[in-house]
């Protein structure tokens, strides 16, 4: 161990800077080949293990008995947090609470959302300027996901910017020079407004007939109704970020990916049936959630290393999705990649993303609607990225539509 450390210095892939600079690829390539299970002795959030290979990520994510998500150990982010949604719980509580909300993304609910999503996607695309520069992140990704978020929450569509703001507050990295908040306390007070607004909606929806939006489904669920105030708030937060940032970032990542690999855009155009697989591949390529953390509950042998009980273990999904032993030419976007769906971007195991199908549907619809309009999109340069080690979030992407 000592020897290894001297060789490479400290490889701290938790530094948000490397995601802002988009310089993470060689670091993870090195971890995967030389130190697949790597103990990083120091970082701004203390020591932690980096898991960088696909197979090891699956191993950790599917063994919740050895690797806990519980908020009692600090939850699922590298720095301990005390949110209490089911994302930060283990079985049997996790299973129970998650079951309570699966209706939100049941096939029936998705079918009801599809036409509305398609309509709104069409409207956003039709409103884009022609032969004039614009920001794809602002005018397409944020615009569309915030509309979808408003749909999902049955929140007044004209006030959707508020949802975006709350989501930004929730995910902000406090060290980010551009962060809207500076302290954890500011985060909490910023979120108070969100929680109170949602609580009010939630109470109101309890009196109305059940509909397919998240607040209504949560309002009519016995299990949720009997939960604590904090827990219900955490649930709102989970769906806010889950339904917003991640999908937004895939919409930007896809636009950039197609501009890097124009042959892939032509392939999709020639065979629009590939749109579903392309959505999965875009999510792999972008990996909007960079990692999830677990805490070892007992001593575990992994890759000839011994992880001690209590250690933080970080699964770098972004690295699993670049593992060449699973994804050939992993840095290339391939809309017809046969195993695109096996990506790690949704996680693996009991916590695997609940909104996976909804996210894929939103992306598929966006690109189907671009195809239907035969838009000739030109991306004018690479995106800039947020200062965050948790969400891989393009902050701007200049674009122009010819025609």
């Amino acid at each position: 161990m000592e020897q290894a450390l001297e060789d490479i210095g400290v490889l701290d892939v938790s530094q948000p800077q490397i995601y802002r600079d988009d310089s993470w690829r060689p670091l993870f390539a090195r971890l995967r080949t030389e130190h697949p299970v790597y103990y990083c002795p120091e970082s701004r959030s203390g020591p932690y293990w980096s898991i960088s290979r696909y197979a090891d990520i699956v191993r950790v994510d599917t063994d919740p008995l050895s690797f806990s998500s519980s908020h009692l150990h600090g939850g699922v982010t590298i720095e301990d947090r005390v949110a209490v949604s089911f994302m930060q719980m283990d079985a049997p509580m996790h299973t129970e609470k998650r079951k309570n909300v699966t209706a939100v993304v049941a096939p029936k609910s998705l079918a009801q959302m599809e036409s509305m999503i398609r309509q709104r996607a069409g409207r956003v695309l039709d409103a884009l300027p022609r032969n004039e520069d614009f920001d794809w992140v602002q005018n397409v990704s944020i615009e569309l996901t915030s509309m979808m978020l408003a749909t999902l929450f049955a929140y007044p569509i004209e006030q959707r910017q508020k949802l975006v703001h709350w989501s930004n507050v929730l995910t902000a990295d406090l060290d980010d020079p551009e962060s809207p908040i500076r302290t954890e306390a500011e985060r909490q007070s910023g979120l108070q407004e969100f929680y109170l607004t949602m609580m009010e909606l939630w109470q109101q929806r309890q009196k109305e007939e059940q509909s397919y939006d998240i607040i209504s489904l949560l309002a009519h669920d016995e299990g949720v109704r009997s939960s604590s105030f904090d827990e219900i708030c955490a649930l709102f937060g989970l769906f806010l970020v889950g339904g917003n940032d991640t999908t937004r970032n895939s919409m930007s990542g896809g636009a950039w990916g197609f501009s890097e690999f124009p042959d892939q855009w032509r392939k999709l155009k020639a065979d629009p049936k590939l749109a579903g697989n392309a959505a999965a591949e875009i999510i792999r390529y972008q990996t909007p959630v960079i990692y999830q953390r677990r805490t070892a509950t007992r001593e575990v042998e992994l890759g000839s290393k011994t992880i001690a009980a209590g250690d933080k273990v970080v699964m770098w999904y972004i690295s699993g999705n670049r593992d060449e032993s699973v994804f050939e030419d992993a840095d290339t976007l391939r809309v017809d990649r046969p195993n695109a769906r096996q990506h790690t971007a949704f996680g693996m195991g009991p916590h695997r993303c609940l909104g996976a199908r909804l996210a894929e549907m939103q992306l598929r619809i966006l690109w189907e609607e671009v195809l239907a309009r035969n838009l000739d999109i030109e991306i004018l340069g690479p995106p800039t990225y947020a200062f965050s080690n948790l969400v891989r979030s393009p902050t701007s992407l200049r674009a122009r539509i010819r025609g």
């Binding site: 699956v58 994510d61 599917t62 079985a91 049997p92 996790h94 299973t95 998650r98 079951k99 699966t102 209706a103 993304v105 049941a106 096939p107 998705l110 195993n339 769906r341 096996q342 949704f346 693996m348 195991g349 009991p350 695997r352 609940l354 996976a356 199908r357």
Partner: protein, 107 residues
Amino acid sequence: MQIIFRQAKAGECVVTAEAGDNLMHVALANDIAGIPGDCGGQCACGTCHVYINADWVERIGSVMPGSTEEAMIFGAPVDARPNSRLACQISLTPMCDGLIVEIPEEQ
């Protein structure tokens, strides 16, 4: 041996399989719609959810209470039923000849 897949919309599809085959891989190899199997059979995605036909439940066995498979079934957006199983957790034996598997509408 023969395996019969049934789906409300797509109808019935009879395919050939060998003892030792994995039910999810059999579905995939035969392009059976409705069993995406996103994780490739690692009991990690829950997208190979199927209902075992009532006549076969006893022979195939129910999901083990408290198992990962059970957690994955409960956590998936598709309706969990007493005869729910994950196809990737079923390894075919000679006595599975004629097995009838029902596929959820969408997953």
